[in-house]
């Protein structure tokens, strides 16, 4: 490793965020008397990362393109509420959850297309557009469709998928922790996102648009089409993730996702994505989601009151945005 490479590496947010994660884990391990690096705790934390981590991937690609998506929780909620309701009423998914997953993905795709269409065609600020569609989708879900909570009547296929696991571990007290099969989806989505961002021209188009939209257009990218596809796919994936969440939690609660964007977007920013677009990696994002999950899972372990959680999340927002701004300033110079 030569000096230039090393220097470039230390300039990246990912490097620091990874360092923070490692130091924090060691710190918590020491402070909690070895409570963190136990197979059961590690499994529990990885499990908790699944849903947030997957949503973070969606946020990441949008932020790389210089946009903001505030509507993904609303898209996911409407998609899974509607899909679950349909499955319950039609008696589908008693053994196989595929139909529900496809349905939610499809609904998410349609909602995402609406986002994409507005953003691509009217060149509006993405934050405003998605804020609008977020409210609209929630309104459709709660008002127009009168979506209800589904818990006990949840199709058994969903539950079976949520309960399935790759392996189980026991801690010294004999308590079981299972690694949910859903973790595979997280790994797959992260791998696909990373591949798309780094090895396809579509991914490079996102970075280019995030870096300088006018230049991207001049360079020959079809910016409109790229944005339309981006938001549509993000919608579809959000719907899918929503359904994964339903399976894991064994409940479909229309309101459960409200405000979720406010914990995930800061995490993505913390992970090195720039609020001005053009920056961000899968690795950094996963590290940042890791930090947030580790902290929220360790608060009790460390004997910290749970309401400190909000304090910590706020801190993450501030740090993330400051880092982002400092980086942008450095680039301007």
């Amino acid at each position: 490793m030569n000096k230039a490479t090393l220097k470039r590496m230390t300039r990246r947010t990912e490097f620091w965020i990874f360092l923070v994660l490692v130091i924090m884990c060691i710190g918590i391990q020491a402070a909690s008397g070895g409570g963190l690096f136990k197979s059961s705790t590690v499994v529990t934390i990885l499990r908790s990362m699944v849903v947030d981590g997957m949503f973070a991937m969606c946020c990441l690609v949008v932020m790389v393109s210089g946009g903001f998506d505030l509507s993904f929780p609303a898209v996911a909620a409407l998609a899974y509420s509607l899909a679950t309701t349909i499955c319950v009423n039609m008696g589908w998914c008693a053994t196989n959850p595929i139909a529900g997953l496809l349905l939610a993905t499809l609904i998410g795709f349609v909602l995402g297309m609406l986002n994409g269409w507005i953003i691509a065609n009217f060149k509006l600020n993405t934050m405003i557009v998605t804020l609008g569609t977020q409210t609209f989708f929630t309104g459709v879900s709660m008002g127009l469709l009168q979506m209800q909570e589904i818990t006990s009547t949840l199709p058994l296929g969903f539950r079976a998928m949520g309960e399935s696991y790759l392996f189980e571990v026991y801690n010294e007290a004999g308590i079981r922790s299972t690694m949910s099969t859903m973790f595979l989806f997280f790994v797959a989505l992260a791998a696909v996102t990373s591949f798309v961002l780094n090895h396809t021209m579509f991914g490079r188009a996102l970075y280019a648009i995030g870096g300088n939209e006018v230049s991207a257009e001049r360079a020959g990218y079809n910016v409109k089409r790229v944005k339309f596809i981006l938001y549509s796919v993000v919608g579809a994936v959000s719907g899918f993730i929503g359904m994964i969440r339903v399976c894991m939690e064994r409940q479909s609660i229309p309101k459960a996702m409200v405000g979720r964007e406010m914990t995930i977007i800061p995490a993505v920013i913390l992970g090195g994505a720039s609020i001005f677009g053009g920056e961000g990696t899968v690795f950094g994002t996963i590290c940042a989601v890791g930090i947030i999950t580790v902290v929220s899972n360790s608060m009790l372990l460390m004997g910290i009151d749970t309401y400190w959680q909000s304090f910590f999340n706020g801190l993450v927002i501030l740090i993330g945005i400051t880092v982002s701004a400092v980086q942008a300033m450095r680039q301007k110079r």
């Binding site: 090895h199 396809t200 490079r204 870096g211 230049s215 360079a219 020959g220 677009g277």
Partner: protein, 494 residues
């Protein structure tokens, strides 16, 4: 085969009934540099957009390499070998040099997946065209403007460019960087590439161009070899009026110096600087970038404390520790970008003029006295003969020169003894530049002591009755007289 690479005749383009281009004719020869000159808003950029296919012409003929071209699209322009390097360079600051170089051809070839080996080959090929070397893995945003420009040029060359259009490439460059750029331009020229160089800087145009096309109000008023044009003709065509280089002749210089600087030092910035400044005098401070000229000015305005030495103002020794204190001591400082950008266009002229003196014009609790603001603005309107019938109109209704008068009056509306102007006409076109110069002369003759900091030697020569030349933080020469030859300054400056 025609003598010309590109010939355009009778080009018209109008937007919503307004003629942006009115029967424009011009031609570019291969291997030559043609300058497209004109003041802001004369239709230069519209013409460029027609050539590059962004806009479609309403009327007129285009002939490229002897073949008439009916419709130009951006793709067609690229195919023909026309490349535009926009003022913002169209680069991606967040990506590596390699990706910036390779991205366009990858897209043109319709590639779907990334192949970094291929990118590297493309990038190396691009750099080799002008024998330029740079770290391919460096982030574009972290390069200097000059380096960014060279990368943009290399990228343009990848497409077998026959015509490269450069939109005001020298705006953000230092003199040294401009020289380097011109070297590259000549190199391209020698390899048979035609360059269309858009600029409004007289000196540069005469230095680099073979042909010149001057536009005014959507018409081309001159097209022909640069050599057949005198500077006076050029300025006349640009502005439509006779402009003369009115050298400043100080009328009433005070006996006693208003500002006296003795042995002023700031570590690593400037050393042992001493000079005097009298009322009614315009003092030029020049030197290359990094010579300490700006740092010296900032110290006089309370930004950057000198380590030793004294500053005497009106006979009293003072310590200037902050801009607020400097203003109290009646010292004003106008930074480089302020004259061109310090205007709220969608606000009334009066509000713009009084922006920096609102404290004086408000009652207790900060409520504004609107009548006083209008009165104040009207005084400045008279003083600077700002061409408007009502100061309540938006600043955007004024011409460029008048807008700059407003900016200047904004800074002057607090009474001053000493006014420091840093690069007062950077990025300003010829006509407006002269207006500003006249204004500064007037102010000096009214008894203001002015310091102009500039690396535009012609500006220094025209305006200053005395010039201090700095190099590496020290004063290396002082020239006096109302007609200092530029060559003399150049002699000392390097």
């Amino acid at each position: 085969m025609s003598e010309y690479l590109l010939q355009m005749t009778g080009i018209c383009k109008s937007f919503a009934g307004v003629h942006a281009l009115d029967h424009v004719n011009f031609a570019i020869r291969p291997g030559k540099v043609m300058c497209l000159a004109g003041e802001n808003g004369c239709g230069k950029s519209t013409l460029v957009k027609i050539i590059s296919g962004v806009y479609t012409r309403d009327e007129g003929e285009v002939v490229f390499e002897g073949n008439p071209i009916s419709k130009i699209t951006p793709a067609e322009a690229t195919r023909l070998g026309i490349q535009v390097i926009y003022q913002d360079l169209s680069i991606f600051p967040n990506l590596t040099v390699m990706e910036n170089l390779a991205i366009n051809s990858e897209i043109t070839e319709g590639k779907k997946f990334v192949n970094r080996k291929r990118w590297e080959a493309t990038a190396k090929e691009a750099l080799s065209k002008i024998g330029y070397e740079i770290d391919l893995q460096a982030k574009m945003g972290e390069l200097s403007v000059a380096d960014k420009q060279l990368v943009a040029i290399c990228r343009a060359l990848l497409f077998n460019a026959k015509l490269i259009i450069m939109d005001e490439p020298t705006t953000a460059l230092t003199k040294r960087e401009v020289d380097a750029l011109f070297k590259t331009v000549r190199q391209l020229k020698d390899s048979g590439i035609a360059i269309m160089f858009i600029s409004h800087k007289t000196e540069e145009i005469f230095e680099i161009s073979d042909d010149v096309c001057i536009m005014r109000n959507g018409k081309n008023v001159y097209a022909g070899p640069t050599a057949e044009l005198t500077r006076q003709d050029f300025t006349f065509h640009m502005t439509g009026r006779e402009l003369t280089d009115d050298h400043f002749v100080p009328k009433n210089i005070s006996k006693e110096p208003v500002l006296k600087v003795e042995h002023l030092c700031q570590k690593n910035k400037y050393q042992d600087v001493s000079f005097e400044l009298r009322k009614g005098e315009i003092l030029g401070v020049t030197g290359l970038l990094g010579s300490g000229r700006t740092e010296l000015a900032l110290s006089l305005f309370g930004l950057g404390k000198p380590d030793s030495g004294t500053i005497t103002l009106n006979g009293q020794e003072v310590k200037i520790t902050s801009p607020i204190q400097a203003q109290k001591l009646r010292i004003g400082y106008v930074p480089e970008d302020r004259l061109t950008e310090g205007l709220c266009l969608q606000q009334p002229i009066a509000d713009n003029i009084t922006l920096s003196s609102l404290k004086r014009l408000s009652k207790a609790m900060g409520f504004l006295r609107h009548q006083d603001i209008l009165d104040d603005a009207n005084i400045w309107k008279e003083k600077f003969s700002i061409a408007t019938d009502d100061v309540r109109r938006f600043a955007s209704t004024l011409s460029g020169g008048n807008q700059q008068k407003i900016v200047l009056s904004k800074w002057l509306s607090n009474d001053l003894d000493v006014l420091i102007l840093n690069g007062p006409t950077v990025g300003v076109d010829v006509g407006a530049k002269q207006d500003i110069h006249h204004l500064i002369h007037e102010l000096a003759n009214e008894g203001l002591a002015v310091i102009i900091i500039s690396d535009d030697l012609s500006e220094v020569v025209v305006n200053c009755s005395r010039v201090i030349v700095m190099r590496d933080g020290s004063i290396v020469g002082e020239l006096t007289g109302s007609d200092i030859p530029e060559e003399d300054i150049i002699e000392i400056i390097r």
